[in-house]
């Protein structure tokens, strides 16, 4: 709430004596304002100040007084926003004190940028009024309150109206990954069982898995060890077979054990009896 006395309303009077001297300072509830621009605009409009000729020294003082009370209770970020504005007001004030030509181009006026921002902000306040009004009018209309649930017929699920082009378009908006900054928490134990279940889940989606995928995202030795033990255990159980074409080449895990593979049939997906697996890359999961 701003308490404006008649004296304050004459803020735009000729210089010499500050209109605020000996007068109660402005009492402003900062919570009411969206931010520093809102407050500043309020101070200017409430006193009928010509926005193209803002008495900066005067307004700066009022602004500082207005925020002084509330700063302590404000979250840090919000306080920073008000302080930043206070600082730029002081900077403008200082610039105005520098010697300058009698007739100043508007462009060169230190206040120009602030005025531009204030006018722009005020423009959007007008838009806010339009939106508020539209929202209030829309709020006077009520939709159907109750609509019975009609579960979709069994087995029929509505199709998502999204195609591959939409997806790829979205993918192209994703920024490149930042350079990896690996800050790892102190190693936390990981169990072989967790890696076993990870392998089983991945096999639901792919016929082969790049081994490093089982531990690389976590980047710790414990995960690599657990993944290795899990792979060995699952190979023993004939759930998968491990292949590496030559030393240091990527290690691949294929769904289905050797028995399934050599039989060319069985529980697991069929990869062909040749066992190379590279012939059929369908369903791979690579790093």
């Amino acid at each position: 709430m701003i308490l404006a006395t008649p004296t304050e309303r004459t803020a735009n009077t000729p210089r010499g004596k500050s209109p605020l001297e000996g007068v109660e300072p402005f009492l402003v509830e900062l919570d009411r304002f969206q931010g520093p621009l809102d407050l500043l605009l309020h101070l200017i409009r409430a006193q009928d100040i010509d926005i193209f000729d803002i008495p900066i020294a005067h307004i700066t003082r009022q602004f500082q007084t207005a925020i002084a009370e509330g700063l302590d209770d404000m979250p840090l970020e919000r306080a920073g926003e008000f302080l930043e504005m206070a600082a730029s007001l002081v900077r403008i004030k200082a610039q105005l004190l520098l010697p300058r030509p009698e007739k100043l181009d508007w462009e060169e006026d230190p206040r120009a940028e602030l005025v531009r921002r204030l006018l722009e902000y005020e423009h959007f306040q007008d838009v806010v009024h339009v939106l508020e009004r539209a929202e209030a009018q829309r709020g006077r209309h009520f939709g159907k309150g109750y609509v019975p649930d009609r579960p979709a017929p069994e087995g029929m699920r509505p199709e998502l109206a999204v195609d591959l082009a939409d997806f790829l378009e979205a993918a192209s908006r994703i920024p490149e990954p930042p350079p990896p900054v690996r800050v790892r928490a102190p190693t936390k134990s990981v169990t072989v069982a967790e890696k076993v279940s990870l392998v089983r889940r991945l096999f639901e989606k792919a016929k082969r898995i790049a081994f490093e995928r089982l531990f690389e995202p976590w980047g710790t030795r414990a995960h690599a060890t657990a993944a290795f033990l899990a792979a060995l255990e699952l190979a023993r159980q004939q759930v998968l077979r491990i292949e590496q074409s030559k030393p240091f080449a990527p290690i691949w895990l294929f769904a289905g054990g050797w028995i399934a593979a050599t039989r060319g049939s069985g529980e697991g997906p069929d990869h062909g009896a040749d066992g190379s697996g590279d012939a059929n890359r369908a369903g791979d999961i690579e790093p």
Binding site: L37, Y121, G139, R173
Partner: protein
């Protein structure tokens, strides 16, 4: 069944706006043109019969809503859901996004003079704004735009219904007059279908 009846049943059973092509899927024989005709016929019938509701156009869809003059009666009921009102910060941000889209967070913050990340997150979660692309420059900032839900929330058919910056003073002057009249303007927002 007459097309009007099928369209009416479909609109009646939905709590969100439906496009003509969505409605047309209720029956194989229903074309979108037939749906449009049916909506027009229903609108005239509701008008003639003085129904308490009407078909309104929101975004690119249609929805049956009560007429605004019944709001005061309905507000007395707990069992009638009120549409939520947005905060000042949300409205300010939406105003900027609506007029400057596509726009990045930094530009929004420059206009508002305050941070916008948390309000953008809220607006995105409510599907009032969405990411529509990425800008040039450092970090390829996300660019935001308004959604279909935005139009629905404000009872708009499309963004063109918002006044242009030049029209704004005229519209605002009109709003003040309306407010002093205190007489609810029946036919304004949302747009009556076919109007």
């Amino acid at each position: 069944m007459k097309p009007e009846q099928i369209v009416e049943a479909t609109l009646f059973a939905s709590q969100t706006p439906l496009t003509t092509s969505e409605i047309a899927r209720a029956d194989d024989e229903l074309s979108t043109a037939a749906v449009s005709d049916a909506i027009q016929a229903l609108r005239e019938a509701y008008e003639a019969e003085e129904r308490a509701f009407q078909i309104y156009e929101l975004g690119d869809g249609f929805q049956i809503l009560t007429r605004p003059e019944f709001a005061s009666y309905l507000e007395r009921f707990d069992s009638v859901a009120r549409s939520p009102y947005l905060s000042g910060a949300a409205l300010e941000t939406l105003a900027i996004v609506a007029y400057r889209q596509p726009i990045g967070r930094i530009e929004i913050e420059e206009v508002r003079g305050v941070g916008a990340s948390s309000v953008l997150r809220t607006l995105t979660d409510w599907e009032l704004v969405e990411v529509v692309g990425r800008g040039e420059g450092l970090g390829r900032p996300l660019l935001y735009g308004t959604t279909r839900r935005f139009l629905e929330h404000f009872g708009l058919r499309d963004l063109d219904e918002l006044p242009s910056p030049e029209e704004l003073p005229v519209v605002l002057a009109g709003l003040e007059e309306d407010a002093s009249d205190a007489e609810p303007d029946a036919a304004e927002a949302p747009t009556e279908a076919g109007a």
